[in-house]
Each structure stands twice: as C-alpha cells, then as structure tokens.
C-alpha cells in the first residue's frame, strides 16, 4: 500500500526527466540552427570589412568613380522616392478607402514589379520608352530620348521601388479607424482636408517607413538600370553598377562602395524599426 505512491512518484520523476532531456536536445538543436543561419547572413557582410584597411577605404572614397556613383545614387534614389510618394499616396488612399470597379486589378498591377525579375523590368521599360519603343518613338519626334539617361535611372527605380511604398501606405491607411474621418467630416472638414489633417497624420509612421524601404530598394536597383539606362559614369552608373564595374579592376573601390551601401542598409533597418514602434 505505502510503496505505491513512491513508485508513482518515481514514475513521475522519470517522466519529468525524459521531458527535460528532450527539451534540452531541442533547445540545443534550435540554438545551433539559429547560430548557423545568423552566421551565414553576417559572415559575408563582415568579410567586406575584413578585406579592406581603413586607409584604403578612405583613399578610395576620394576616387571619381566612387564619388560620382555615390552622388548619382543619392540624387536619383531621392528623386524616385519623391515621385513614388507623390503618386503613390493618393493611389494608396483611394484604394484603401473606396470601392470601385477594377480596384483589385489596380492592386495587382501595382504589386507586379515586386515579383517581376529586374531584367524583365529593364527590357520592358526599353520596349516602352526606348528610342523605338511604344511611347519612346513619339517622344523621339519631339527630340526627347529617355533611354540611357539619368531620367531612365529614375524611371527604373520608380518602377521597381513603388510597390514597397504603395503596399505599406495602403495598409497604414486601412489601419486608421474611420470614426476619426467621420468625426472630422461632421466638424466641417472636406474630404481633402480630412486626408491631409487626419488620415495622413494618423498613418504617418507607416508612410515614412514605406518611403524608407522604397528608397532602399531604389538605391540597390541594378538589373533594370543597367539594361534601360546603361552604365555611364556620372550619368547612369549608380553605386550597384559601379561595384559591378570596378570589381574587375579596382577591388578596393568596389568594397568601399559596398561598405557604404551596407551602412545605409543598417540605418534603414534601424530607422524603420524606430518609426514603426512609435505609436500614439
């Protein structure tokens, strides 16, 4: 009689031991997996910093090919982000708030560049805006040619980066409670005033992080740019193109440019994290 509880007790104890053991194995396995994966992502990035001395890094920052690429990239990515925000904000707001025939189609089309390979985007842009393209041939008659110019760089960036902003903007607008918009209307605000003074401020965090993501994507654009805009220093050779070009001769310049892009990426991730965490 009195031995039964203690045998049960031992059983329970042994069972608990088994659970603890298998949980330990699982933890170890998951930890190893996490470490391996994190290393796989970080090691290549760290290697960039290990392959170049600080002196060589700063020396190549003074090279014209690097300076040109850096300033071209920053100006074109800024311009394309501005265009995306200007056109994308009303589009996202309308699609978030209004039902109209063809809305689903517009949504799908604005998302298309995310899944489209950049090389396809490049040749498609060329077929549209190239010298003999669908639109380009008419522009050409007015003496306007877009392909292989800085404008082409911006167009390629707008094309590939716009979905990042528009998706985020739409989601942020949808997250704004309509009751605030209704209240604003009854207080005397017309629909445009409601958008400017209520909806956009309430969606602000999401809009800014969408714009930052879109800027980062524009900064990294390679495939569509090299096909549609070419690779001319100072005009169309953005940082990714300059990395590709200098890699064959001046590896230090390529690594320096890569390091700058890595640093910008880190700032972007940090900025998005900080901004999206802020809540009213």
């Amino acid at each position: 009689m009195d031995s039964t509880p203690s045998r049960q007790g031992r059983e329970v104890f042994r069972h608990a031991g088994r659970v603890r053991f298998s949980r330990g194995v699982l933890t170890l396995f998951v930890a190893a997996f996490l470490v391996l994966f994190t290393l796989f992502v970080t090691l290549p990035v760290v290697s960039l910093f290990l392959r170049i001395s600080p002196e060589a890094f700063f020396r190549s920052l003074a090279e014209p090919v690097v300076i040109d690429a850096l300033s071209l990239s920053l100006t074109t990515a800024t311009a394309s982000t501005a265009i995306v925000v200007l056109f994308g904000t009303p589009l996202a707001l309308v699609n978030a708030r209004h039902e109209y025939p063809g809305r689903a189609l517009v949504d799908t089309l604005t998302d298309l560049p995310i899944v489209l390979p950049p090389a396809v985007a490049g040749i498609a842009l060329l077929m549209a805006f190239g010298r003999r393209g669908v639109v380009g041939q008419y522009l050409n008659e007015f003496g306007i040619s877009i392909a292989f110019t800085t404008v082409a760089v911006i167009l390629a960036q707008v094309f590939v980066a716009s979905p990042f902003y528009i998706r985020q903007a739409r989601a942020s607008f949808e997250a704004v409670d309509r009751i605030y918009e209704d209240a604003a209307r009854t207080l005397g605000a017309s629909p445009p005033t409601v958008a400017i003074r209520v909806t956009i401020p309430l969606a602000w965090g999401g809009l800014v992080s969408g714009a930052i993501l879109s800027f980062a994507r524009a900064l990294g654009e390679f495939g569509a740019t090299i096909m549609f805009a070419g690779n001319f220093q100072g005009r169309t050779r953005t940082m990714p193109l300059a990395i590709y070009t200098t890699m064959q001769g001046d590896l230090d310049a390529a690594i320096s440019l890569a390091i700058i892009l890595v640093m910008i990426s880190f700032v972007v991730i940090a900025a998005v994290k900080v901004i999206t965490r802020r809540k009213f």
């Binding site: 207080l187 005397g188 003074r197």
Partner: protein, 236 residues
C-alpha cells in the same frame, strides 16, 4: 426644428422611420442594441445616406431623394458626438477643439479666443496642451462636447454620451450635460441605454424597434408602456 424621414436597407431589416425635434427640445432615442438608433444619428449628420426620404433642419434641406439634394456632412453644421468620442489622437486638447474652426478658415486670434473660452466653460482649461491619449473618460467627454459646441451647431447628436464615463462621475456629468444643453438652447438627440439619461435629459422619448418608431411621447408616457418587453426590462 428638425424633420427627418428616411428609408434605408440595413443588414437585417429596413430602417424606415420619421421623427422631428422642436427648437430647444431634447429627444432621447431608446431601443435594443442594433435597433438602428446610431444609424439614425449617422443619417442625420450625413455620414450615411438614406435610400430615400427627406431631412430638413430649420429652413435648410439637408437631404431629399426627390429633389436629389444631399448636403455633405461638412456643410450641415450638426455636432455629432460618437460613443467613443473619436478625439483625434495626434492632437492636443486645444487642437482638437480648434479643428472645426480651422476648417472654417477663421483668423488665428479668433480661433485662439473661441477655444480658450470654450475650454473655460467646460472647465478643462488646464488640459489645453495635453495629448488626448492621457485623458479620463469624463475628460474625453468634455473635450468632445467642447469640440462640437465651439462651432455653435444647429443640432447636437449624442451617442451614449456617458457610457465611457466611470460610474461615480456619471450623475455629476449628467447634470452638467443637461445644464450645458439648456444653456445653449441647441436642439438635441441623445441615444442611450441608461434609464437615468432618458428620464433626466429627455423632453421627449422615442422607442425604436427593428428600424421602426414604436413609441413617441413624454418620458413618463413612454416609460409607462410596461406591456412592451423592452420598456419593461429598461425600467427594470
């Protein structure tokens, strides 16, 4: 004087009713959840549009399906307080109260003066620069009321005005609300679940059931209709 007659298809039934509010009168709407009380307020302020009907306020036609008139909410000059108060979370108390005046493009000094005056009347001057996220239920109610009253509306719509105010403060707030409504003389429609709201605030009581007007009269008349299931449970 508000005259309201509207038909609108809702999810479960057709809302079809007519009611009116005389100058300076306070009308209280009671009824089950989902009977269409808040919908009536939304139709009057213009957030929702009737399928057909006519809404007039004073000598202004706000909506008429026959004459194809539909004045947008921003031009109706009706104060609408939502159950959740819907204070703008990205603005301070003073900015919330100034919102409607800014939409009317009044000169800045005039806005400042009107806001300060309204905050003083509502006894919330010390909250002017506080973000609305940090207010209590009672304070929110005052800010929402100030935000509507500063515009001197022709009609005031209050949806469960005291529901978010905590129990202990409710009777004081109710007394104060009644005084403010009397002082301003603005006609008023109040939606409520609370018997004391109905008795103490209402000049007239309307019972709405499934989108139709079931009873309309002085509070003691309507509340005397004990044979009605809702009234019986409402009076308790």
């Amino acid at each position: 004087m508000l005259a309201f007659r509207a038909v609108r298809q809702l999810r479960d039934f057709v809302l079809d009713l007519a009611l009116s509010v005389r100058p300076g009168e306070t009308l209280v709407l009671i009824g089950e959840n989902g009977a269409g009380k808040s919908t009536v307020l939304n139709l009057i302020s213009g957030i929702l549009t009737p399928d057909e009907g006519e809404i007039t306020l004073g000598d202004k036609i706000l909506f008429s399906s026959e004459e194809r008139i539909n004045v947008p909410p921003e031009s109706r000059n009706i104060g609408h307080l939502f159950q959740s108060y819907a204070l703008f979370p990205h603005m301070t108390v003073a900015e919330n109260v100034a919102f409607g005046l800014r939409c009317r493009r009044l000169p800045e000094p005039e806005i400042k003066r009107a806001v300060a005056e309204q905050l003083a009347v509502m006894k919330i001057s010390e909250l002017a620069d506080i973000n609305v996220g940090r207010l209590s239920g009672g304070q929110r109610q005052r800010v929402a009321l100030a935000r509507a009253l500063v515009l001197e509306p022709d009609l005031l719509l209050l949806d469960e005005p005291l529901a978010a105010v905590d129990m202990r403060a409710q009777s004081a707030m109710r007394r104060e609300l009644r005084e403010r409504i009397r002082e301003t003389g603005i006609p008023c429609i109040i939606v409520t679940h609370n018997l004391r709201d109905a008795v103490e605030l209402g000049d007239r009581l309307c019972l709405i059931e499934d989108g139709r007007l079931f009873a309309d009269g002085r509070p003691e008349e309507v509340l005397g209709m004990r044979e009605n299931g809702f009234i019986a449970s409402f009076v308790g």
